[in-house]
């Protein structure tokens, strides 16, 4: 074979061909470096959210099994002599909600992993780690803040608070649906004109969990009216799921 005709099984590549191949390989490497750099320049900042995977801690408090299950841990400071509580929403491992009904009003010890984003904390409860100490019902009234029409996005609270990052918007939609199917409590994320973000726990108008009813509206801009209330630092948004409106069709 002459210099200008080359097949891969021949011992030596002609110089002109080798030069073209080298240019191609260098161009491919430059494209790869460019893609890696552009991909990170172009991505939005990731939220400061944390899942302390592998770090299991002990918690003690009282479980409330309303629409969203919480562990109420008594704080050291009191309010007018009355106890104050830090509220930790509870979830189970994987894409599963925590079945809190059998522990409602019970003071318990449990093991769990912290998930947190800014000031909002959650506990992923280790299976079969809950030990009942005593009955300890806590009477706590929600403060009604009135009726509101809000625009925002429904997310699954577990991923949003830190198990995944990013844990919201279109690429995360399917995961959010899987989590809500499994009973993870939904959060409604609202951003005001200044960019401040509020997170509200979504409930039905009667205060029950709403999961299956909202699966079709997850991770997209929606508008909904409902009553907003507060317990401790947590906001709750009671809605009628049939009245959810899509902002973008």
């Amino acid at each position: 074979m002459n210099e200008d005709f080359y097949i891969g099984y021949l011992p030596k590549m002609p110089k002109n061909t080798a030069r073209v191949i080298k240019i191609f390989v260098v161009a491919a490497f430059v494209a790869a470096i460019g893609l890696a750099v552009f991909a990170w320049i172009g991505q939005k900042p990731f939220a400061k959210s944390v899942f302390e995977f592998g770090t299991i801690k002990d918690f003690e408090g009282t479980i409330q099994a309303d629409g969203v299950p919480f562990l109420l841990v008594e704080k050291s400071d009191k309010n007018n002599g009355l106890p104050t509580f830090e509220r930790f929403p509870l979830v189970a491992e994987g894409k599963h909600g925590f079945d809190a009904k059998r522990f409602d009003g019970q003071k318990v010890k449990l093991k769990g992993t912290r998930i947190y984003r800014d000031d909002l904390q959650m506990i992923e409860v280790v299976s079969d780690s809950v030990e009942i100490i005593s009955a300890n019902p806590i009477e706590e009234k929600a403060k009604n803040l009135g009726k509101f029409k809000l625009k925002g996005e429904i997310v699954d609270s577990k991923c949003y608070l830190g198990v995944m990052n990013p844990g919201q918007s279109k690429p995360h939609r399917d995961c959010a649906v899987a989590c809500l199917r499994g009973g993870i409590p939904p959060l409604f994320i609202v951003k005001d004109s200044m960019g401040n973000v509020s997170e509200l726990w979504l409930l039905s108008e009667t205060g029950e969990a709403v999961n299956k009813e909202i699966l079709d509206f997850v991770a997209e801009p929606i508008e909904i009216s409902g009553g907003v209330s507060r317990k401790g630092d947590h906001l709750f948004f009671k809605i009628n799921p049939t009245q959810i409106k899509r902002i973008l069709e």
Binding site: F46, F51, H96, C175
Partner: protein, 343 residues
């Protein structure tokens, strides 16, 4: 060419090719994950891996797809084609890691089977903004899987070249699905123009090079017709020694070779992967060598030298007044035809 099937017939070029490929992929993933961990320290390792493997697979697929038209434009790119199947199989594996991690991350550990979850979590097929983009990626991955597992001469032989070629043409369907997967997926959330521009540049390169190559090929497909059984194809002086000119006669591309004072004509289509035999050369062994992967045929009978069994159709030829005339009808593959002597 190999007379028996082995997993890979290694040679020096294949080894160099694979070393560059593997180090390129490893280097890209390390760079991507390193940059991500530095610029976005809050990103989880799963997200870094999913996005790293995803972008790597898209980049590799673009490289796979531009090699074909580049080789049509210049034979100097042919060494890239020689071992392209390794690039294709690597693209599948990288894509499979992306898909596997995504399915585990987004669909496993729930109340339904992860694959059922992929297909049922989002059914808004009528919405562009909310289209279920993961299904598109899954279908593309299935196509790349079928291509990867049949990416061996054993399957080429047993499926037959037309079936194998049709299956592998599906790479363009997979490419379209993956572009839609990116456009309707991550680019719905990550809206920085630089990301769309990067993808657009890749598409421009793939589509543009294919169009330029196709335009070049249209000249080859200009049909030569005649009322006689023999059609005037070219002049003897047009054909370089040991090389061919390609003409389209009765809808078929014919490679007309000049060698050792003789002219022979065979089908232009190599039995291996439909490579253009007319762009090949007759070597010192007297065989036409396909420029793509080096499959060989005798010019007089279109048959591969023993022990190989590939055969291509031959054409009767004659020479008059310095012109080459080729019969309109091809002979059965492997039929001996006396070469026309150049006076």
């Amino acid at each position: 060419m190999s007379e028996k099937y082995v997993a890979i017939s290694w040679n020096r070029q294949k080894k160099i090719y694979d070393i560059i490929l593997i180090s390129g992929v490893a280097g890209y993933l390390l760079l991507f994950i390193g940059l991500g961990a530095s610029f976005q320290p809050n990103a989880t390792i799963e997200t870094l891996l999913i996005r790293g493997f995803g972008t790597c697979a898209i980049l590799l697929l673009h490289i796979v797809l531009i090699i074909g038209p580049l080789c049509r434009l210049s034979p100097k790119f042919l060494p890239l084609l020689y071992n392209r199947r390794h690039l294709g199989v690597t693209t599948f594996f990288i894509g499979a890691v992306h898909g596997g991690l995504s399915i585990f991350q987004f669909h496993a550990l729930g109340v339904i089977n992860p694959f059922v979850s992929v297909l049922t979590s989002n059914t808004r097929f009528s919405s562009i903004a909310d289209f279920p983009f993961q299904v598109l990626g899954l279908i593309a991955l299935v196509i790349l899987f079928l291509m990867a597992v049949t990416s061996h001469d054993f399957w080429l032989k047993n499926l037959t070249a037309p079936v194998w070629k049709t299956l592998h043409i599906l790479v363009y369907v997979a490419y379209a699905l993956l572009i839609a997967h990116v456009l309707l997926g991550v680019l719905q959330a990550e809206t920085a123009p630089i990301l769309s521009i990067s993808l657009g540049f890749g598409m421009f390169l793939v589509v543009g090079l294919h169009l330029i190559a196709a335009f070049k090929e249209t000249n080859l497909d200009k049909e030569i017709s005649s009322n006689d059984d023999f059609v005037e194809a070219c002049s003897v002086s047009e054909i370089p020694e040991k090389r061919a000119c390609i003409r389209t006669i009765s809808g078929e591309r014919v490679a007309i070779f000049k060698y050792d004072g003789k002219i022979s004509a065979v089908s232009n289509v190599c039995q291996h992967q439909n490579g253009p035999l007319g762009e090949g050369k007759i070597g010192d062994d007297g065989c036409i060598t396909c420029p793509w992967h080096g499959f060989q045929y005798k010019p007089e009978n279109g048959a591969s030298p023993p022990p190989f069994t590939e055969k291509v159709p031959t054409f009767n030829v004659k020479i008059a007044d310095g012109k080459v005339f080729v019969h309109k009808k091809s002979n059965k593959a492997g039929t001996f035809v006396e070469a026309a002597r150049i006076e």
